[in-house]
């Protein structure tokens, strides 16, 4: 009887799946459409960047970086990311810890504030800093008096980048920390851990993959940011040009090979980011699989069972 029921159920599940499945032609059409879209809008432009960069051969491609302005742009980009990413990692950790693990008045307002850089155009983010620190801005006269240059200088670029890339770490960490709950931290406290020990030894290790993911995304955006940086940099060659700005200048000067070579370097960075992201997702997924694996059948388990 039960055998019959089971085979009957199995049969009906199979037929249901068959009934829901589209015809082979529809399926093929969907796949072709999706692939064509990907090729046209994603793969083709990427291929174009590399083919343009290598149009005059490998030698020209490499030598285009052998230029003081180009090298300076790369160095500046690395410097900006090197400062903005650690800052945002610390800010992001603080903000997400406060939001996910505590209740306080104004919590929702803080959440909205964190999303602000996502919501407004990067150009406007840049303009805010010009308005604040520019020669005619609110703090401009005071800064000029003390001989501090922010706009059209490296500090301005860093500030704009920090602002634009702020949400990435926090946005990844908040859901991860919320999903984790408070119990493990409370357990750590009852075992004698200080608040800092509970954070460092329990909270942080539990969100390490989300943190890493957030940092990778934050870094990609910090290196690639154009709008906000463009407004505050002033485009001074060899001084305030980051890689994306350098690409624009070279392109406007019809120096296509150099422009695309720089662009190819940025694209490589994007690909590396994607690879890192996939690696993390793969790691997390395999960890989840390991978690779900029921150990009930191992001999050791049987021995230890009540």
């Amino acid at each position: 009887m039960s055998g019959f029921t089971q085979s009957h159920l199995g049969h009906s599940a199979r037929s249901a799946r068959r009934a829901l499945a589209p015809s082979p032609w529809t399926k093929a059409a969907f796949i072709v459409l999706a692939l064509a879209f990907l090729a046209l809008f994603l793969f083709l432009p990427l291929a174009a960047v590399f083919s343009e960069a290598l149009r005059k051969g490998w030698g020209t491609f490499v030598s285009s970086f052998n230029d003081t302005d180009a090298l300076h742009a790369i160095k500046l980009t690395l410097l900006v990311a090197g400062i903005a990413v650690p800052l945002n990692t610390v800010f992001g950790l603080c903000a997400s810890w406060a939001i996910a693990k505590h209740d306080f008045p104004g919590k929702n307002f803080l959440l909205t504030l964190i999303d602000l850089p996502f919501a407004i155009s990067p150009v406007i983010s840049g303009l805010i800093y010009v308005l604040l620190f520019g020669a005619h801005g609110w703090l401009g006269p005071w800064l000029a008096e003390h001989d501090i240059q922010i706009i059209f200088a490296v500090p301005g670029i860093i500030l704009a980048t920090v602002f634009v890339t702020f949400p990435f770490v926090a946005r990844e960490l908040i859901p991860a920390m919320q999903a984790q709950g408070n119990d493990e931290e409370l357990a750590a406290l009852t075992l004698g851990a200080s608040g800092w020990q509970a954070f460092r030894r329990v909270t942080l290790p539990n969100v390490r993959w989300a943190l890493f993911y957030g940092v990778v995304l934050c870094n990609a955006r910090a290196m690639g940011e154009f709008g906000a940086v463009s407004v505050v940099s002033g485009h001074i060659r060899g001084e305030t040009n980051t890689m994306p700005l350098q690409v624009e200048i070279l392109y406007n000067e019809y120096n296509f090979v150099a422009a695309f070579a720089m662009a190819a370097l940025l694209a490589l960075l994007a690909l590396a980011t994607l690879a890192a992201k996939s690696l993390i997702e793969w790691r997390v997924a395999s960890q989840l699989r390991a978690d779900e694996r029921q150990p009930d059948n191992t001999p050791l388990h049987k021995l230890a069972k009540l």
């Binding site: 493990e184 357990a187 406290l189 009852t190 075992l191 004698g192 851990a193 390991a290 230890a304 009540l306």
Partner: protein, 381 residues
Amino acid sequence: MSIQANNISKHFGATCALNDVSLKVKKGHLTALVGPSGSGKTTLLRILAGLENPDPGGGELLFHGEDVSGLPVQKRRVGMVFQHYALFRHLTVEQNIGFGLSVRDRSERPSRKAIRDKARELLSLVQLEGLGSRLPQQLSGGQRQRVALARALAIEPRILLLDEPFGALDAKVRKDLRRWLRQFHEEVRLTTVFVTHDQEEALELADEVVVMSNASVAQVGTPQEVFDRPSSPFVIEFMGNVNRLESGYWPRESDADASSPQPHLHPDTDGIHSREVKPRDPLYVRPHDIEIRPADEDGTLPARVLHIFSAGSVGRVTLERIRTHEILEAEVSRSELDELNIGAGDAVGIRFRHIRLFARNAEGQQEIVEKEKTAVRFTEE
């Protein structure tokens, strides 16, 4: 280590979670805090642990006479086992158990080897030898529970607190683990308080039961006391199955209407005066105190059988009183059930071996009155 809590109150905003609660836990005892959800039992446990602070100005908390109200959770040396265990998921079982020792100040911290040895010793105490290198996710629910217990014991706590220790386990494991925990307690003799909403668990496991209701303590006593002499209608209804007879009773003196279907009470033999009990106060009869007899037997109330559940160690019979249409649940032994030879729809006679009701004393507090069946007369008889 004994625990004494005096006049503890706790409000969350406008809601009162604990209202002037006092509690004494004897050294080495296993005490159950039992009550429906929202009765304040978990809040009380968390206050004992130091995870919540009682309302300022009210109450004190003593461990073995020492005031610990001001001590932060880290300094209380309280072993806490959380409902969902709260094991550190990124650490192995051994690292979990050693955590409490490894976060100590350098001057008090044992060596790595000493911590590992201690963890192994505790693992064998909770009968999980050889699982030290597993991650918590690789353990079954019952095993996780015991790792959480070992982790709490590692800091050599003064008291042990367990929040719904069996809540997340399936019925079979639950039963085994309950027995194991009782045995374990006999061995370590650590003052232990556990929270449960399962009255059966509390009665079976604890030395002393604290019944909580509505942010206060309803009754404290041994399982026997709480079950046999419940202090209020709430306790009798919460602790174990009971039939509630809403039809009330009339004192015999005022028994003017002989045709009334109500049970009658002898005020003289009961020691309570008719004005102290309201005629409509309900009567309580435990299922095992209902005797099923053949219909029309002398001194029985007429009833009809609705259902018989005999798939268990005792037979459970659902009955309907003919006169009042009250539904009653009776428990009889399987052999008795076989002897009676009854089926659904049959007419039977029922007799109550033991009836309880609650009367107000001179101070207006409710007191239990227990009666042999003979003290309560039903006009139907």
